[in-house]
Symmetry: C2
Subunit: 418 residues, 2 copies
C-alpha cells in the first residue's frame, strides 16, 4: 500500500493530542468549544466564500441540485452550525463518570469509569456541517478527530478546520485534536482505514456504498450508521384516527431521512375500511402508493409493488403497502425485509404488542408512536453522531456517551490471587 506522509503525520499527532484531551477538565473542553463557536460566528463570510467555490465547481461538474443543496451553506445554516456547537457544549460530559462500582469479597474495589476512545476517524460525504458537528461531539467526549470529507466540499472543509484549529490555539485543547486529511487521492482512504495504531474508531457518515466500503476495508472497529427500511404495522385493534396521524407523520413529515416509514403493513380486518381511506389520505399528502395484490383489490389505481419495493429505502414520498393476516405475518415481513432500524406497531391488543416488541429485532421498536422519533435529540441525548444499525457497542442514536469506552480502575491494599 502507498504511504501518505500527510495522513500518517496527522493521525500520529491526533493520537498525541488525544492523550492530553483524555485528561482535560470539562471546563477546558467547554472553553474550547466556545472559542470554536465564536470564531465560526465571526468568520462566516470567509467560510461562505470558500463554500461558493465548492458550489460553483459542483454545479459545473453537473451535480444534482438536491445534492448541491446539501453542500451549500448560507448564513442561516452557518448560524445553525454555530448553535450546534454551543448545544454540544451544554451537554453533560460523559468522561470520568462511573457506570458501576462494587467491592469484591477480598476487598478489591472495582470502578468502571467512562474514558474517551482516543482518536475517531470520520469518513463522510458532502455536507460540510458534519465537519463541525462531529468535531464538537468528539471534543466534548474527550476524543481527537481525523476528518476525511468529500472532494466536493474540500474548500469549505479546509476553511472550517483552519478556523477551528486557530480557535484551539488560545485554549488548553491541543490544536491537533482536529485535523482534515486534505489529499483527495482515493487511496488515502484505504491507507487511513489501516492506521489501527493511531485511530481507535471509524465512523462512516454517508450512503450505503460508503459504509460498505469502510466496513470491507478497515481493521479498525466501526460504528455503522446504515439504511432505515422502516415499517408501521396497523393492527386490527388500533385507534384508527391515531393510526392515520402516525402513518402520515412517519411517511410525510420528512421523507428523506432514515427513520421515515417505507412500508405500511395493514391487518387484513382493516383492508376494506381503514386501508382505502388511508391510501386516499396518503395521496392527498402527495404520496405515491405501491401495493400488494390485496391492497390493489381495494384501491385499484395503486401501482403494483414488486419484491424490489419491499427492500427499498425510498427516502421519498413513495410508500409500499401490504395487507397481512395478523401480527405474525407483520413480524415475519419485517424480519425478512427490515433493516433493524425503527419499527412500529399501532395496536390496542396487549398480546400483539408484547409479541411485536419482543420478536422484532430492531434498534428502536415503537408502540403507538411514529418511527420518526429515532433521533438523538428526540431521545434526549442532545446531539448525535448518526443512527447505529449495528449491534456492537451502540444501537440507535449515537450520543456523546457512545463516543466513550470505559476502563476498570481497581483499588486494593496488596491483594494477590490465590
Amino acid at each position: 500500500m502507498r504511504e501518505f506522509p500527510e495522513l500518517t503525520e496527522k493521525a500520529r499527532r491526533a493520537k498525541e493530542a488525544s492523550k492530553k484531551l483524555a485528561v482535560l477538565s470539562t471546563q477546558a473542553k467547554d472553553a474550547a468549544l466556545e472559542a470554536v463557536a465564536d470564531i465560526l460566528q465571526r468568520n462566516m463570510e470567509s467560510v461562505l466564500a470558500e463554500n461558493r467555490k465548492d458550489v460553483a465547481a459542483a454545479r459545473e461538474s453537473g451535480m444534482k441540485e438536491s445534492l448541491v443543496d446539501r453542500l451549500e451553506l448560507n448564513e442561516k445554516k452557518m448560524a445553525g452550525i454555530v448553535e450546534g456547537v454551543r448545544g454540544v457544549m451544554m451537554l453533560p460530559d460523559p468522561v470520568g463518570s462511573s457506570e458501576a462500582a462494587w467491592v469484591r469479597p477480598n476487598g478489591l474495589r472495582i470502578t468502571q469509569v467512562r474514558v474517551p476512545f482516543g482518536v475517531i476517524g470520520i469518513i463522510y460525504e458532502s455536507r460540510p456541517n458534519v465537519t463541525v458537528d462531529t468535531f464538537a461531539l468528539a471534543l466534548k467526549s474527550g476524543n481527537a478527530i481525523l476528518l476525511r470529507g468529500s472532494r466536493s466540499a474540500i474548500n469549505t472543509n479546509i476553511e472550517l478546520v483552519r478556523l477551528m484549529r486557530e480557535a484551539l490555539r488560545g485554549t488548553e485543547v491541543p490544536v491537533d485534536a482536529v485535523a482534515l486529511v486534505e489529499s483527495m487521492d482515493r487511496e488515502v482512504v484505504d491507507a487511513m482505514l489501516k492506521l489501527k495504531q493511531y485511530i481507535d474508531l471509524v465512523i462512516p457518515r454517508g450512503g450505503q456504498g460508503l459504509i460498505d466500503m469502510v466496513v470491507e476495508k478497515t481493521t479498525i472497529p466501526v460504528i455503522e450508521t446504515g439504511v432505515g427500511n422502516c415499517h408501521v404495522f396497523v393492527d386490527a385493534s388500533a385507534d384508527l384516527e391515531m393510526a392515520k396521524r402516525v402513518v402520515i407523520n412517519a411517511k410525510c413529515q420528512r421523507p428523506g431521512v432514515c427513520n421515515a416509514m417505507e412500508t405500511l403493513l395493514v391487518h387484513s380486518d382493516l383492508s376494506e375500511t381503514f386501508l382505502p381511506e388511508m391510501i386516499r389520505e396518503l395521496k392527498e399528502n402527495g404520496v405515491e402508493v405501491r401495493g400488494c395484490e390485496r391492497t390493489r383489490q381495494v384501491a385499484p389505481d395503486v401501482k403494483e409493488a414488486t419484491e424490489e419495493d419491499w427492500v427499498t429505502e425510498y427516502l421519498d414520498l413513495i410508500l409500499a403497502v401490504k395487507v397481512v393476516e395478523d401480527v405474525r405475518e407483520a413480524i415475519a415481513h419485517i424480519t425478512r425485509y427490515g433493516s433493524s432500524h425503527s419499527e412500529a406497531i399501532l395496536s390496542n391488543d396487549y398480546r400483539n404488542i408484547c409479541r411485536f416488541t419482543s420478536e422484532v429485532d430492531a434498534a428502536a421498536v415503537y408502540v403507538n408512536a411514529s418511527t420518526r422519533f429515532t433521533d438523538g435529540g428526540e431521545f434526549g441525548f442532545g446531539a448525535e453522531m448518526g443512527i447505529s444499525t449495528q449491534k456492537l457497542h451502540v444501537r440507535g442514536p449515537v450520543g456523546l456517551q457512545h463516543l466513550t469506552t470505559f476502563k476498570y480502575v481497581t483499588y486494593g491494599h496488596g491483594q494477590v490471587r490465590d
Copy 2:
C-alpha cells in the same frame, strides 16, 4: 470465493434458531443447560475416547507437549467442563433486563432493553473445553453459536457437539442453537467470516495470529481478545513488603496467562535497596530476569534487556525489569509498550496514583493489587468469554451481559413528530 454448503446451511439454521432462543424464558434455557451438563457427565467416556484419537494424532504429528496438554482431556477436566456449564446456569440471565428507562417531555416512555446478538461465531484453537464453555455462555445469553475449532481437536469437538445437540432435542431450545463447522478446509474460515447476514458477532479465541487473521478478513463486528503485555510499577512510596508479594504473584502464580506481569518498572529511589532484593526473590521463584542498564548496575548477573523484551508477552517465567525516574516515565513506558490489558501501580502517593489511574489507557488499572485479577470470575461476572483488549462494546473480562446488545422499546399513545 468458494461456497461451502455445509457452512451456509448451519449458519442459516443457527440464525433461525436464534430467533426462537431470543424469546425463550430463563427457565427454558436453564433446563437446556442442565440437560447438556447431564449428557456430558453421563458420556464422559465417549468424549475421552474421541479425545484420545486427537491426542494420538497430535503426538504423531509432532505437537509440542505443552500444546498436547491443552488438547488432552481427562475425567478431572471433563468434570470441570460439566461444572462450568452448571456454573453458567446459576448466573443471572441478562436478557430482558432494562438498563435505563425514561419518559420524554412528550410522554414517550423509552426503555432500553437487553437482547441477544443473535448468532455468535467462535473461531478457536486447540482447547476443547472452549467448545462447551462458549456454548453455555451463548445459550444463557440467548444466542445461537457457530463453532469452528482446530483440526487437532476435531474428533473431540464433533463428539461434544453431537452430545450437546442430542441434549437439546428434549428441551425447548432448538437443536440448531449450536453447530460445529466440521470442514477443515482453510477457506471455510474465510467464508464464515463473510456470512454477515447470518452471524452477528465473531469472537476469535486463540493466539495473536488467529485474532489478526479474523480482524483482517471479516466484515462482521469482532470482539478481540488479545495479548497482555502487563506492567507493575513500584513507586518510591510503596509498601515494599506488599510490593514483593504482589510482584511475585503477578509473575509467578500462573505465568502462562494474559494477565500475568511481563515487565516490572521500579522507581529509581528503590534501585539500590528494594530492587536487588526483589530480583533475588524472583530468582528464588525460578524467574529469569532481563534488566535495563540501571538494573544491571545493581544486579550484574542479570541478562541485558533489549527493545524486544519491552514488547514481549513471555507467558513464561521470564521478566523484563526497568528502573524509571518517576511515575511519568513509568506511564510513558506503559503507553509505548503496553497492550492496554492490565497495569498496576504500587504506591502510597495520592498524586502519583491519580496520575497513573487517569493517564494509563488500559482495560484494567490496579492500585496496590496484582494484575492477575483481570478475570471474569475475579470481577464477579461468573464465567467469561475471554478478556477484550478492544475499546468498542466491551473492555476487560467479557461476561454474559457483554454477549447481549440492546434495543429501545418505546411506548406512546399516538405521538407524532412536529
